[in-house]
Symmetry: C2
Subunit: 137 residues, 2 copies
DNA sequence: CTAATCCCAACCGAATCGGTCGGCATTATG
DNA sequence: CATAATGCCGACCGATTCGGTTGGGATTAG
């Protein structure tokens, strides 16, 4: 149970973009250099973030990446979900999940609690919070 | 970011043992059949749990497995840690971690919050709680 | 002695992770 | 128009982990 480097990098890159209030798009090599992330790897990370609509890119000479929404509207959970898949930790948590043992399974309440603890922690922080260093709650 | 089947199975097995207050050791095939877990796989799971001191085994004809401590003394977090490794999600969270960017890294506070949310959720529930179906808090 | 049971090591296919490489498409600038 | 900067995309790669299986050995109650 470990957060992937992909996800660590991705969040750092998003914070980097959020911190550059500069409206001009930030080219990938600049992010990579600033955060110490291998550029080709970062490229694939940003691709996922773009597909998830968290980031938009402009191509061509003075192109680069920008946040697709204001930093206050992007929760950390959005970034993690985009890069790590759904936050849910086990398949059996949703009621429609195919686990026929669901009724009697005591363990399920654990995973449920864990799920809500995780999404609570991640969805209550936005990128804006992180740039201010003042995390709420 | 997903809990492994190993871990799901392991917790189910532990709850199974906790529920059988019967002081006689429970043979592996009985657990496997009761929880629908492939027996050879369960064997390796129980091996880990034994190495972590959560379970003790008696060999020979009427042998089997028992909890090594009363169910009220075993937290779900102990089981997960034994099977999934340390609960910490990223390497950079401890202060001694080699991340030279640690001071300035805004993302770190996220992982810290996540870590404490997870360990809070898992360490506040014991196997005894699960057998009673009445989870505290 | 025998059968039940735990113990252990080796192996396996599939998936994921963390990257790299090479090349194509787009676009601002001169 | 030419060029250079940039994003986009697909293929590949080695290492690791996951989810199991197989086969055999050690222990012990009856």
């Amino acid at each position: 149970m470990r957060i992937s480097s992909r996800c660590e990098y991705g969040l750092r890159a998003m914070v980097f973009l959020a911190a550059s209030e500069d409206p001009r798009p930030v080219p990938l090599p600049e992010i990579a250099a600033g955060e110490g992330i291998p550029a080709p790897f970062l490229e694939r990370i940003l691709a996922r973030l773009r597909e998830s609509g968290l980031v938009k890119a402009t191509r061509g000479v003075s192109g680069g990446y920008q946040l697709a929404q204001p930093p206050g509207d992007i929760a950390v959970g959005d970034v993690v979900t985009a890069l790590e898949g759904p936050l849910s930790l086990v398949g059996c948590v949703p009621d429609d999940g195919g686990c026929e043992r669901a009724e009697s399974c005591a363990s399920r309440v654990v995973w449920r609690r864990l799920d809500s603890a995780i999404s609570g922690a991640l969805n209550s922080i936005t990128l804006e919070d992180l740039t201010r260093e003042a995390v709420p709650r």
